[in-house]
Symmetry: C2
Subunit: 389 residues, 2 copies
Amino acid sequence: MIGIVGVGHGKFGKMPEIPVQDLCIQPVLEALDDAHLQLEDIDVVVIGTSPEYHVQRSIGGIVAEHLGLNPKPVFLTEAACASGSAALYLACSLLNSDIAETACVIGVQKMSELSTAEILGLMGRVGDVQWESIFGTTFPGYYALLARRHFAEFGTTSEHLAMISVKNHQYGAENPKALFKGKKDVTIEKVLSSKMVANPLKVYDCCANADGAAALILQKEEKISSDVEQPIWLIGMGMASAPMSVLTRDSLTEIVSTRLAARQAYEMANIRPKDIDLAEVHDCFTIAELIAYEDLGFCEKGKGKDFVENEENTYYGTIPVNLDGGLKAKGHPVGATGISMVYSVVKQLRGEAPAFQVQDCKMALTHNIGGIGQYCYVNILGNERPSIK
Amino acid sequence: MIGIVGVGHGKFGKMPEIPVQDLCIQPVLEALDDAHLQLEDIDVVVIGTSPEYHVQRSIGGIVAEHLGLNPKPVFLTEAACASGSAALYLACSLLNSDIAETACVIGVQKMSELSTAEILGLMGRVGDVQWESIFGTTFPGYYALLARRHFAEFGTTSEHLAMISVKNHQYGAENPKALFKGKKDVTIEKVLSSKMVANPLKVYDCCANADGAAALILQKEEKISSDVEQPIWLIGMGMASAPMSVLTRDSLTEIVSTRLAARQAYEMANIRPKDIDLAEVHDCFTIAELIAYEDLGFCEKGKGKDFVENEENTYYGTIPVNLDGGLKAKGHPVGATGISMVYSVVKQLRGEAPAFQVQDCKMALTHNIGGIGQYCYVNILGNERPSIK
């Protein structure tokens, strides 16, 4: 079994003056310090990022160089907004195949090198360019289709989505790493009256682009030193792919890859959704978070709106979701997000959250989607090592 | 130990009308057929590519969809011109960690979506953008620096480089998959009088951009069916990183990552360079092939020119190099190259090469560089399973 022995997280925000490789340095050093390890202890590096955002190509090379990690092997993986989780998955594979004893996983993205218009163009091209983008689909446009259909089938409303936005901003305001730290003026009215992006999604239904990086240090159980007070165990992992094209899907109200990845992760961890004390889910848009409640089994299909109305998703609810602010309020540097989620739940599982610490938090889930669901990664983490592997 | 049980290779060339995802289909089906397996047998897909060349982003999703492989996990990895080898390395790790029993590895690149000027710009950005590209370094310019220094230190000449170009074109002319199949008019004089690109490198010293894909099917030994007549074993693998920036290097006449990756691979295979019957090396430029002879231990440092003069690198020499035409004559669709090299040596090790079949070929090497040596992968493949793991 693999344990997370160190975590680090840079501030998410707009940092046009910092080269993408240098965004990685502080999180990696923080994670090493947290793990009581040195740079020399790292056997392999896996980076999750979307290369198309950066002028500097093939950043694996420059990150390894600037961290002083040559000649150690360095890998880069891309899975759109799930690139960070893909890196974590591959790093676990490298550890389990005994190629390495200590792995460093970095999620990083610098989005401020491009204009908002360029980013919108780039994001649309994560959908099917041959058959869909050619007709002008944008990334918010795709999720707007899902929202419209969910509204029609299940009576979900813009107010439900607004409640998710308000919740995430409330928590993100207290997260020192968040882009919208300190922003406490987000109300239902403000969300509902914000500028329309892709009907019914408004500005406050959309996550924000950001620059940022986060890092983890992983080791196999037998390698973990007694200096590490509280390893956090990766007790369940799931990954599934689904058609990229939206036009071929049977349903627009679920992300099938989430359902399949979650099933794998729950089975591997041998738990049920109700055993989860905390979840970080992929709220690239508010509708994505609501659909995730259903796909992850936190509630039945079509009942996401009730889960919201009953405040089951809040700090005081049955499964608090996105207590770090989520992509919405923390910001979404795409390659960094999957690792940032893990950072947040590790802090919670250790009892070290900067705010909204869940009492008796033993089991947490991260959920990270690539694109419009063509990839999904679900991880289950715990602070107690299960007795059966 | 992991065996290659199926290989497939598309034609390399200019195929602007074929979407990048569809370039993958024929090689994967060919590899499956070769392995006597079906699509359903594939547990995981790993794609090596450089995403920046494609309008379609995150091609893992669309490749899995068009191949009908959903919901199987699909990963994408980028390591510049070594992306294919990175994919092979990670696929072996996924197999060795028992996440999968059968892996499909795809190397693919479509370069004809961009103009030559755009590609040149893109290639320069695989060097250090912050400190080098800003002064106008291009990709041929980097390798020209290495050539100039090699000329000054060791007396290597443009004629030696021209001999490599002529050799690779001679072999590539007989490779049915090569971009320059049938091109038999390349002479020393023609190379030397071709247009200067970056002094001393001329057009015929540079490999050619191409579109293309190649695929492998891998299995762990215990899974391999008796239907597979001749598995080819991955008996040695090495990967090393080195500084991306050229200005910080101790030497311009060697690629340190090649030396380190080769050492790992030789040690793992427990062989010496002289045991190699055939090598496919990374000749993005003729000087890169000459330096590889030295770094891989085929000859001493500075003696690459003698290795060429004595025709040790030819079909009749001690270690035939690039009998499939190499990047020079086969074409270099960057993500595909590492897998294409493996395809060629698998065919040789099985005795199925379309031309220039090495007699009694038992052990072969592939050498794949990312960028200007910030990554290097060396694989050693054999048609006999070593008795000691």
